[in-house]
């Protein structure tokens, strides 16, 4: 499955934004222009599809994302996603969308789903999209059979999506498409302001560890529990572990070697009774995880927590990419990937992520001209200043790519520097540079 495009609006300070996804996509802007809101909006839009009605109701009243900029404070949340999927040996283009009203003073008018639609096109056989599902405020209908029309009515509550309801109609001829939308997921890596905390989870001390895990899981959720995930990777997917090791070692040449370790607390004790253990229905696993590292010039190996913040971040960023690849996540987002990473390493890191991720696309937000200079123009979205205080992201025009390169060359700077220079200039004057350069 491949995410082709996402369009959404009525979210925080985002009026409307549309992103066509290539392999590596970047949002560039000065501070406070809404880069994070765009990333959060995509995550929110996809989470809303997956969550149960009760959670949906809470999401429609979630304060941090309700738009309160006066220019868009009445806008409903609208979300549209275009996906390419291969199902039953055919290739489909799927466009799914919905909208809802945020909570309002007038209780009747708020916290309700307004519209929903599913349109599908067989990319080999069809010339145009067919409607598989449509829903208005009080009425919803779906397509019951290949030869029928989209008019079979279905009862729906104001905090329910038809797409979720249809998941229990497993005889529908497009059931796999319904499943694809319900299973949508995005992996996210935030700004990691405190990478030092990433590996402190190696001890059993939080609620998450109250869940008994008696096997190694490589699910996306486990990637946050880095040392455990990396140990599991070495056991369950050694070929991916080798790839992970190769990536990390080339990014961190000061490392001589590293190895994830597991310590079974029960095994270290003198009064263990092997015979009794066999008879138990469940022998509670109590293990701790760490990654032991040997750095050049150090006289002994240490815990990964002794590495610098940037090095720990690299371990994490690469392991999340591997998790996304294993779990076939269609999209992985990185907020300010450049944090704690020196500029000389950014190209290498981009090459590695590009190579690692065959199934997933990447969406980055960045403040770094050093990172931007390596990216294709068609993959950059620029947050442009505007008087309304809205997050407006524009795409550079293809016909202007050459001009941008020439301008950068004339000024003897990189394209990354040029884009930031112009953003700064536009912030303090009525310069219409981006109006000319962008769509």
């Amino acid at each position: 499955m491949e995410i082709v495009r996402v369009k959404f609006g009525g979210f925080s300070n985002v009026e409307s934004v549309e992103l066509d996804f290539n392999k590596i996509n970047t949002l560039v802007a000065l501070n406070n222009y809404g880069k994070s809101n765009v990333i959060k909006g995509i995550q929110f839009g996809i989470d809303f599809i997956k969550n149960q009605s009760k959670t949906k109701a809470k999401m429609m009243a979630f304060k941090p994302f309700i738009p309160y900029n006066e220019n868009i404070d009445n806008k409903p949340f609208r979300f549209e996603i275009e996906i390419n999927a291969i199902n039953e040996s055919s290739n489909y283009s799927i466009i799914y969308s919905y909208s809802f009203d945020w909570i309002k003073n007038d209780k009747e008018r708020g916290k309700r789903i307004l519209e929903e639609s599913l349109k599908v096109k067989n990319l080999v056989e069809d010339l145009k999209y067919s409607t598989f599902l449509k829903r208005g405020l009080n009425k919803a209908a779906y397509l019951p059979s290949k030869t029928g029309r989209c008019d079979r009515e279905i009862k729906i509550e104001k905090d329910e999506l038809v797409i979720n309801k249809l998941e229990s109609f497993d005889e529908l001829f497009y059931y796999s498409i319904i499943k694809t939308i319900n299973d949508l997921n995005v992996a996210s890596v935030d700004t990691l302001q405190n990478p030092d905390d990433l590996y402190k989870k190696n001890r059993i001390h939080n609620n998450e560890n109250l869940i008994v895990k008696n096997d190694y899981s490589l699910s996306m959720n486990e990637a946050a529990n880095s040392a455990y995930f990396i140990y599991g990777l070495s056991k369950k997917k050694p070929q991916y572990f080798e790839l992970f090791k190769d990536a990390v070692m080339t990014l961190l040449p000061s490392l001589e070697d590293f190895e994830p370790v597991e310590i079974d607390l029960k095994e270290t004790i003198s009064f263990k009774n092997e015979e009794a253990k066999i008879k138990l229905p469940l022998d509670f696993p109590e293990k701790i995880y760490d990654i032991r590292v040997k750095e050049r010039n150090n006289n002994q190996q240490t815990s990964i927590t002794s590495l610098s913040s940037g090095s720990q971040k690299i371990f994490y960023v690469v392991s999340v990419a591997i998790a996304a690849e294993i779990n076939k996540m269609p999209l992985i987002t990185y907020e300010e990937l450049e944090n704690s990473i020196h500029p000389g390493l950014l190209q290498k890191l981009l090459i590695i992520l590009d190579n690692l991720l065959e199934n997933s696309k990447i969406l980055l937000s960045s403040h770094s001209p050093y990172l931007i200079q390596y990216l294709d123009f068609s993959n950059i979205k620029i947050g442009t200043p505007n008087e309304k205080g809205l997050a407006i992201f524009k795409q550079l025009r293809k016909s202007k790519f050459k001009k941008l390169l020439l301008l950068a060359e004339d000024e003897n700077i990189s394209v990354g520097d040029l884009i930031f220079e112009k953003m700064i200039e536009c912030q303090s004057s009525d310069d219409d540079f981006f109006n000319e350069m962008c769509n």
């Binding site: 790839l243 981009l350 090459i351 190579n355 050093y370 060359e409």
Partner: protein
Amino acid sequence: MKDLSKLLVLFVEGDTEAEFYRLLINYYKEKSSKPFPEVKRINLKGIGRFEAKVVSKLKNDILKDKKYKDLEIIVFCCYDTDVFELAKKPPTNWSKVRKGVAELGIKSFYEIKSQKMIEDWFIKDLDGICDFLKIKKPKKVSQEGLKVLKGLFKTSNKIYQKGYYTHKFLEKLDLSKIIKALKGVFDDLERYLNVK
């Protein structure tokens, strides 16, 4: 025996290229029976613009060095003619570099261009690459070296990083095979190394 009349300065674009040219120069040195000049490789890798860097390196590291005062300076810029997707933008303007070098009073300026990328050269010796990766040699591969290398490395659970990967894989390549396949690409270099 040393040729004390000239200094060859080779500008390369990254670690992989630097390693390749180190091995290439050593290869010629071993083959040579005539006086061999000093060769200085300068890796332009980094975050700045290459045009300014070439001129600055020549000005400050070579021309100001008393050691090279009376030597004829010959500059070679070694680069890909094609840019890969994640390359620095804008790409280096080599004619600007040529002009900048001439302004320093250096008359001998040559370009060694990899058509389209240096990886296209590497795959001229697929046996060496597969030997390094400990994988079976594929029967047929594309002409796009970078694509081929990325694929072969992945088969061996490694990531080929253009411009950065060295890790001894170039040592496994049979340079004579590559030089023969490239027919004349290194003619100018060979002439100044006295191995033509």
